[in-house]
Symmetry: none
Subunit: 201 residues, 4 copies
DNA sequence: AATGAATGAGTTTTCATTCAT
DNA sequence: GATGAATGAAAACTCATTCAT
């Protein structure tokens, strides 16, 4: 997708194209059949490469999964941070963030489903899938709380609850087929604002 | 010629003791290592019985898991329904229900963790783990909405969001070691009331 | 079927009735699913008795099979001998024997099929299923040969060929559903007479 | 975490050497102990390869058996057809065919025994081991009958009987150690001709 | 760098047999 | 004598990972 060297033979593919092919194949397969039910051989076949080549990019099947999950998490965290950093009232920023989350979700449907399916994978730093998203939520909550825009509460627990809301909304939205016309973001934003914001905010 | 078993068959003590031993061993192991990473052999060893005996009680490894999950779900649903049926304002009933949930959680710690880890198992009726709890939440939400105690919203999506909140709070609470002294229920109730109740309620 | 003590409670069953029940259940099941695919538990259930009871009558699953096979073989051998002992020309006796074989077959359909399916079981005396039938054929052939009614030939080989003819005809007949109206016996007798008898006979 | 293989992968010598090794090991073991009493592990050990390698060539234990049986059947059918297609009287052609059968048998001793032991395996097309051979016999019989060289009879039943004769002779011959000096073919041909040919032929 | 054949430990599940009741 | 719960060895099959080509 990036630099396709049209003057070269097909054999010399962009190394990134293979990495991408692995990701895409794995995302689809993991999502459809579950991590444990997908073999590296199947991923390789689906990606159009050899088994050994998968191992050039990922030391382990688990490593591959983790890389994928970290990828989606990054996308969400990045978007949340940037949406939150915009101008506006807290209510506006929350709303914007909710819409942002679903936009990222739309771009990463397979991986999102995978992220929600995968709760028993531990990363090397001891964290779990979703933790980085939850951390980001906690940062935002703490900031809001400190300026009196949020009710007082334990930031960790509050972030956990908020994160659960997001997950719940997204899982529901995905089970409906992730339709564009249903405004899951709006409903999420509503509960979010009422549940966490003070009247002052 | 094939199997000459040097069996030392054990006595049949309590008829239910084995069933219980299986449940407890499986709950601990599934929870600690994940469903896919626990073999029936491991469960049997942990339960102090033979592999074949596990199969006397559960046709399949998956069957065993389902039975366990349905058990916890039932406990939650039953308790929610009974707490909700009590007298009091909606706010009071919500609060009572939140405390009730954590009481049930305390009694089913291993299984609760299992329930939250297990999101990609499909039951024979097509439902997923947690669905029955979410259904119960939807029932309550709809009732409240119909009398004007809740904001208007799609009951399915609202129930999904509420369910996510509960899960988020419980997972957090469990990661803290499920301490009795931290009032996760209170914080959950707070967000619950603010997030869903109208001022009128 | 023999002595049903009508004055006693049902519990005191004729010990032979159990033996019979086992035979019948095993015959049907072995025939339908193959020896290896039928468990003693299934036989016991089908026979309406306990697993342990099967073992009161037969030391081993293999022992049970052997007893059954010997049973059918005996039936065939006995009938062949008696039919052969009757008066008449050799041709008549052959014909009578062929009809006799199919009469026995009709009475032992399940076991017959089992006998034909089972070629790799070795009896304790080193013989194989069918051997006793083949022996009987050899006796008859030798007798006929000695009086000049049969072509000269190695009795063992001739008996093996004749036995194969019988088996072939019966297997075919069974695959047609063992119909009464198709005269397999007649066709068998025809080839038998032409193939083995001299013109003199 | 799961499989750390201390693998010493071997070189890929002859591409077909493994396939052949599997066939030979399986033929010997199936023949000696019966299909059901031979595990894939045993075959692999005997063939000097790993279990998984067996599965690279055959999807299933049953598939392996079928491939082997079809191999022998083909050999027999092909030879019968070619022998039958030669010039000569029917008697000569029958005789030639009988000798041909035993030549093929000599080249496929293990598999032949397997073919005769295996009567309860059903192929995907519903046919049974031996059916193709019997079909070929029926074709020949029908042809002979149509020109008046054979007695009249139901071709299916006649083919079954003839097929049984062949099997009987071969089994006997194998139990004698498949000796070259005993003329099983001649005896078979004799009964064959007398049993099926008309005087006119 | 890429390939994919080979490996073998590990999984789920079955079942002949035993023996305490 | 009858029962059937309990046993655990064994089987078919899978698949992450390696490494010679």
């Amino acid at each position: 997708m990036k630099n396709q060297n049209l003057t070269r033979a097909k054999r010399t593919r962009d190394p990134d194209s293979k990495r991408t092919a692995i990701y895409e194949a794995a995302a689809r397969l993991f999502t459809d059949h579950g991590y444990e039910n997908v073999s590296i051989a199947k991923i390789a076949r689906e990606a159009g490469i050899a088994v050994g080549t998968v191992y050039r990019f990922h030391d382990t099947k688990l490593t591959l999964l983790r890389a994928m999950l970290e990828g989606v998490e990054d996308a969400f965290v990045t978007r949340m941070a940037s949406d939150w950093a915009c101008d506006g009232t807290y209510a506006e920023r929350i709303e914007r963030m909710c819409y942002g989350l679903f936009e990222v979700a739309e771009d990463n449907l397979d991986l999102l489903k995978l992220l929600n399916m995968t709760t028993d994978i531990v990363f090397t730093d001891g964290s779990l899938p979703g933790d980085r998203i939850q951390n980001q939520i906690r940062i935002m909550y703490t900031e809001a709380m400190n300026v009196g825009a949020s009710h007082q509460g334990d930031p960790h627990m509050m972030a956990a609850i908020a994160h659960g809301m997001v997950e719940g909304a997204m899982v529901r939205w995905m089970r409906l087929g992730a339709p564009k016309d249903i405004d899951a973001a709006a409903q999420l934003a509503l509960v979010f604002k009422d549940g966490f914001m003070t009247n002052a905010a």
